[in-house]
């Protein structure tokens, strides 16, 4: 296309002439200032831009929303946000369109004789309150429950916890983050005694090698992945994709290593074996800062109702640990995992090289894992053995999938055993919370009740009679879905759903409340790197839609808790946040005041003496370190992190003669979670209109399945028919299939298994046995 006849010399000559002319031009009179020039300009394209964290994933990109005549009309990345530095992904750029779907819920709906009838917000809230009172009277306080979400803003989760745990006195508070982050939490608690990553996104700008553990970052955390690619362009960093399936991430990575499902446990241990064998252990670090522990094994998979498990940690010596690892030589692990000994040594060599800074990144791969807590522990083991932790660029980094999985579920503590600070089992923690909540300490029950899967099982059994579901879509996301859908439809169950659109979950509701979403109200989210971000109300919610926070407050008042829910309608978000901050008023977790959040693109906690903490446990950066050493793992009493002896154990249901394939589920870049928002964004729906099943090309060829052919998947739970996707977005390894879960018309979770990690109680959506046939 170019007629590039100009050579360099003539180009430079012309340039010189040009610049001389330009210089001359500036000497002419009549030059104007920009302000004067702009005075009479039309307003087109000159929108009012307001900052918010993105509505979708846990990366927590800063976005600027363009408002015109009271409507959100455009989005761009916030260049001031240190998270995304001005870049977004396709979901973020089109996020405001998610508020304008035609079927937006604008009025409360109450089910009467099998039909939904429009009613007023007041009547609906009255009904909910009276139904709650009635249920508590008839079946006890533990028969009412709330199921929230990592998309709850901080105030939503806070008032939910205060109402249910503090006022009603039941620990029936759970959130969908149990299905995605629970293993990360138990991983942190067992290894470090305190939740959430020690590092931050800035580690990406310092690390030399990135190991992605079962993490298709190019699609799931694209903005961070672009930051990795940018670093590769500038500094030549290495990206290693360690996964079960070939994806865009594998294509972009410098090396793609495939392992068989569940064997990441063995490979991680083999890496530790190599590190010790080759003398790559950072001895002084391990001696000063680490203990060795082992726990129970053969824990089971939680498949039966009322399954209980409690780990028994036991101290071991380094020699014991070394002996245990002898079962995990690269040569032995090669046979289990399908990863060559050479590749294991390759990864170990990067972790072991003292001159390389290594960042491990993971999300649902190690978390939605029947040994999720173990897998998290094992990754920390590698970083602890080599001392590559809590310093810029040396970072085991657990990513999240929801905008406030960290901010709300993990920090506010909307899980059955948690309080905003500490756990319900601890007397001091209960007393501390009760004081701030202004409730008698006896109100807070010292016994945790149900985790998410068990909560839905309790609904099935009838132990739970009332459930309020907010900002989440469990009738698409629960594993072994059919059982729980039938449970919710049973006689004598009362379900309230607060949402913005009709979903399979509103289909089972007795009352549907229209919610105000995202920037239609005020709130805060907390992202993966401990960053709390505030957003103001920018536009009016449609119809009678009301924020989840205010819905809860209205019901709490009707239940007679006016004293605890004293908040003023105009200032309640500020009041709640100020009250919430009291729970974290210490050097290890202090949250920034609201004024600081308003002025900045978010602020990381611990926020101490006016400064955020980027690297925790490192005394150079973290003011909470008090042992006088370089590092202080203050989550544990003796200030030491724990290296865990965790073996390889098989998955709950592995392929056999009858069901010979592995079934894996996950997401795609265009859709977020169950697609209730992204499918209403035309650009995204048109790009990815429906779900599909990915097959390995060899398997497809053998079964004579072409791209687009109908394929029947059968598991012990049921069957489903999906169009085939051969050699498209992703390529599963032979004898494995992959299905995205966003499509409510093709509910893959009808056939997944509800096995979970016994420690974290997080289900394993990535592994069950399936039969594949041409339909």
């Amino acid at each position: 296309m170019y007629t590039s006849t100009t050579n360099r010399r003539s180009f430079i000559k012309k340039m010189a002439v040009l610049s001389a002319m330009t210089a001359a031009a500036t000497m002419f009179p009549g030059i104007m200032f920009a302000g004067e020039q702009e005075k009479n300009l039309p307003k087109g394209g000159n929108l009012d831009w307001k900052k918010a964290p993105c509505r979708f994933c846990g990366v927590g990109c800063g976005v600027l929303v363009g408002i015109e005549n009271g409507k959100a009309v455009a989005v761009k990345g916030d260049p001031k946000s240190p998270v995304n530095k001005g870049l977004c992904c396709v979901k973020g750029y089109h996020s405001v369109m998610a508020m304008y779907g035609k079927d937006r819920l604008t009025k409360p709906l109450v089910k009467k004789n099998g039909k939904y009838v429009e009613t007023s917000m007041k009547e609906a809230l009255d009904l909910i309150a009276s139904k709650m009172k009635e249920t508590i009277k008839d079946h006890g306080k533990d028969s009412v429950s709330i199921y929230g979400s990592g998309q709850w803003t901080i105030p939503d989760g806070y008032v939910a916890s205060k109402l249910f745990k503090g006022c009603i006195g039941t620990n029936n508070v759970e959130a969908n983050a149990r299905l995605c982050m629970a293993s990360a939490v138990t991983g942190f608690l067992t290894s470090f005694g305190i939740d959430e990553p020690m590092g931050c996104y800035e580690d990406i700008d310092h690390a030399d090698v990135f190991v992605l553990w079962g993490n298709n970052m190019a699609e799931m955390h694209p903005v961070l992945f672009s930051r990795l690619l940018d670093q590769r362009l500038k500094r030549g960093v290495k990206i290693i994709d360690f996964a079960t399936r070939t994806t865009r991430t594998s294509m972009a990575a410098d090396k793609s290593i495939l392992f068989l499902p569940q064997t990441d446990l063995a490979v991680a241990n083999a890496i530790c074996y190599e590190i010790i064998k080759n003398g790559w252990v950072n001895k002084s670090f391990v001696e000063k800062h680490c203990n060795f522990n082992k726990g129970l094994t053969n824990m089971g998979y939680g498949l039966e109702d009322k399954y209980k498990f409690k780990d028994k940690p036991e101290k071991i010596s380094f020699q014991d640990y070394k002996k245990f690892l002898e079962d995990y030589t690269p040569e032995k692990v090669e046979k289990i995992s399908g990863v060559s000994a050479k590749d294991i040594k390759y990864m170990a060599a990067y972790y072991g090289d003292p001159n390389k800074k290594v960042m491990s990144l993971w999300c649902m791969g190690p978390n939605q894992h029947s040994r999720g807590t173990w897998m998290n522990n094992l990754i920390y083991n590698i970083h602890l053995l080599t001392g590559k932790i809590s310093t810029p660029g040396n970072s085991p980094f657990s990513l999240t999938g929801q905008p406030s999985a960290c901010g709300t579920v993990r920090e506010v503590g909307t899980l059955t055993h948690k309080l905003p600070h500490g756990v319900v089992m601890n007397k001091e923690h209960r007393e501390f919370a009760a004081k701030i909540w202004d409730v008698p300490v006896e109100n807070i029950d010292p016994k945790p009740t149900y985790h998410t899967v068990e909560m839905f099982r309790a609904l099935d059994r009838g132990d739970i009679r009332f459930m309020w579901i907010q900002v989440t879509n469990p009738m698409v996301t629960m594993p072994k879905l059919k059982r729980y859908r039938d449970a919710a439809k049973k006689e004598g169950r009362f379900i309230v759903v607060s949402d913005v659109y009709p979903t399979p979950t509103t289909d089972i509701a007795d009352v549907i409340l229209p919610s105000a979403m995202w920037i239609e109200r005020e709130g805060m989210y907390g992202n993966s790197e401990r960053r709390t971000q505030y957003f103001e109300q920018m536009i009016q919610p449609p119809g009678e839609a009301m924020s989840d926070t205010w819905q809860l407050i209205e019901v709490a008042k009707r239940l007679g808790y006016e004293k605890q829910f004293y908040y003023n309608e105009d200032t309640h978000i500020e009041e709640i946040y100020t009250e919430y901050r009291k729970h974290h008023d210490n050097k290890k977790h202090n949250m920034a005041p609201l004024e600081v959040l308003k002025e900045n693109p978010g602020m990381q906690w611990p926020y101490v003496e006016g400064k955020p903490t980027q690297w925790r446990f490192n005394s150079k950066y973290d003011p909470a370190c008090s042992n006088g050493e370089d590092f202080h793992f203050y989550g544990k009493k003796d200030g030491k992190a724990i290296i865990w002896q965790r073996p390889y154990e098989p998955a709950a249901e592995e392929p056999d003669a009858e069901y010979p394939y592995w079934l894996n589920t996950g997401r795609v870049v265009e859709h977020w979670h169950t697609g209730s928002m992204t499918r209403r964004i035309p650009v995204l729906h048109k790009a990815m209109p429906h779900s599909y099943v990915e097959l390995n090309p060899e398997d497809a060829k053998r079964m004579q399945i072409k791209n687009g052919d109908k394929v029947k998947l059968t598991t012990r739970r049921g069957e489903i028919i999906l169009p085939a996707s051969v050699n498209q977005r992703g390529v599963p390894a032979p004898m494995q299939v992959f299905v995205p879960f966003f499509d409510e018309n093709m509910l893959i979770n009808d056939i997944t298994l509800d096995s979970f990690c016994p420690i974290s109680k997080e289900p394993d959506y990535k592994k069950c046995a399936v039969k594949v046939e041409k339909a």
């Binding site: 300009l41 394209g45 000159n46 260049p79 729906h685």
Partner: protein, 229 residues
Amino acid sequence: MRKRLGIISLFIILCIAFIAIWNYSYYQGQEEAYIPIENNRPIPIIPSETGVFQRSEFALDYANMPVDENHQRSMKTYYDNRAFHGAPPSIPHEVTSERSMGENTCLKCHENGGYVDKFEAYAPVTPHPEMVNCRQCHVPQKTQSLFKGTNFKKGTIPAVGINNALAGSPPVIPHQLQLRENCLACHAGPSAPKEIRVTHPERINCRQCHVPNNKVTEDIGNFIRKIEN
């Protein structure tokens, strides 16, 4: 003795070389000294201006290139595949590989543009070729149907040709510059929409005369002279 001088000096050289290499590799092998990280690096408020020169090497080619009037784009087609003004465009054609990154696929055509027979059009040039995970933001459209309808309305699109304050004065930039800092990518060459194709691509330093008119820059209120003494 004389005879051996050669071999002895060779050994001496080898010896020195050995010591030098030994020392070099020893220091290389040592762990890097700790470099403190500077906290809170200021993030520039004004969008980076470096992009403006990115395609300047082609400026003269653009100037000399004849206009192919039969295959030029217009603002209408420009906005057809954008959800709103400033949104990343969707991909209006099929993509060969669902899985690959952009550097060996998308960028083959969209880095420098060129006429594509199949589509009877010139490939638009990307203003940010350094970002290779193209389909992080740009997605193809596989269906025309919708899941549910939408009430979303495109905001006002800035008009072309009225952005100058005086007759003949240089128009201001009416759009956001983020990811579009490289002016020539969209405003020059055969793929540039006819309404916004620049008549003088060879001048390169666009923002010498054309200033942004948007609220990216911090509002500091009215400018008031500070009078001292």
